[in-house]
């Protein structure tokens, strides 16, 4: 079971409180987790990554285990602690602006 923490606005859109728990088949990567997230919550499609290119939106960041994984390959394995559910993957709306 993969644990994902969404930013407030996306929790509102998905109508969830707290963490989201997802089943991911196969290797646990950013892409696999986002595929599972969007399948479970279709209203989030296009909000974390672009519809067409599937590139991360510029002001969205991925953190886990005190690491910034935002620039990692979407097909790179996530840390074991995320894959085992010991730690959540944090999807964060970046601090930006003045």
């Amino acid at each position: 079971m993969i644990r994902v923490v969404l930013p407030t606005h996306l929790r509102t859109l998905a109508r969830v409180d707290g963490e989201v728990k997802l089943d991911v088949e196969g290797p646990v990567t950013q892409r696999a987790v986002l595929d599972a997230l969007e399948a479970r919550y279709p209203m989030l499609r296009g909000t974390v990554r672009d519809y067409v290119t599937h590139r991360r939106r510029a002001f969205v960041r991925f953190f886990a285990c005190e690491q910034d994984l935002s620039h990692a390959s979407p097909d790179a394995p996530l840390p074991d602690a995320v894959a085992t559910g010991a730690e959540p993957l944090l999807i964060v709306g970046a601090m930006a602006g003045g």
Binding site: R40, P42, V48
Partner: protein
Amino acid sequence: MSGVRVLVGTRKGTFILTADAKREKWDVSGPHFAGWEIYHLKGSPADQNRLYASQSSGWFGQIIQRSDDGGKTWFQPGTPPGEPMTTPDGMPKGESNKFVYDTSPETGAPLTTHQFYDGNAVPWVFKRVWHLEPSLTDPDTVYAGVEDAALFHSTDGGQTWQELPELRGAQGHLWQPGAGGMCLHTIVLDPSHPARIFIAISAAGTFRTDDAGTTWRPMNRGLRSEGIPNPHAEVGHCVHRIAMHPSRPHVLFMQKHWDVMRSDDAGESWHEVSGNLPTDFGFPIDVHAHEPDTIYVVPITSDSEHYPPEGKLRVYRSRTGGNEWEALTKGLPQRDCYVNVLRDAMAVDALDPCGLYFGTTGGQVYGSADTGDSWAPIVRDLPPVLSVEVQTLP
């Protein structure tokens, strides 16, 4: 009892203002979609309870919201949570946030390019929905004007969106962004000619289709813009808004970057009607609900000074279809006022006498229940107002 429902889009959410036909006492609900930019929301003329809203953010992109109960509750009209994203035969189901330009079958890249500020040709990239225009007759059909400029439509209540790509064939390679981006911000449907649609783009101009989007023509003859190499070019004009009275659909009024214009031949040609306005720069323009020759604008000082001249917030009314204008000031601040009124932030109701509403970048929404003769603030301290629409309720 009849009344009005004023739909206000702001930088930080939507507010819905309701009143009875006297339009004196107002109920305010909101914010809906708190924290999100609401560029526009509008009700269906065919079903007063059907509303569409464009919700967007620099972080999380574009969301389409729909209400079927007059704005009490909202939902995204795509596939509900927990349902499979494909049909049993593998076809994708509704994805209401998905605005994808027509692409080349060979490369998968969006078709055609447009001009960028630096003169380079760049491909279309979707950014947001600026304007939603529900069909006059079908609550499930709605048009969306987007940035980068293109026209989409949905015929399933906003569940899925398809581009009308032929518009970009109307010299789209010459279009370029205005200061606010390259946006399709105005959609006017002709009630007498269901296949005729007018749209306006900054900074490209006005375009018209007479065959429901299969072919489009620029409709900019008579416009003059000093800021482009050929002031009379066929495309490249920064049109801010156009308006039509439904009883006289061949007459159009336009607030251009500079100049207030009028067409008496469905956009084939335009002539200036700025007349005695203190400045002919501005954004909104609208037509009285019952008097097709009574029109309203809000003059703004200049393209670099987006506030009213002399710090006086004045709506100007012409009862002659332009050229002769009178200032409407009663109830509006006449000193130290430096707000702007954006292009979609003015609306008229269909009561008698006709009511007018406009919102400012300072967060005020003003209303007039007497055709503009006097005004009063309905709310004073909203986030900056991006759009104002009104529904007249039976």
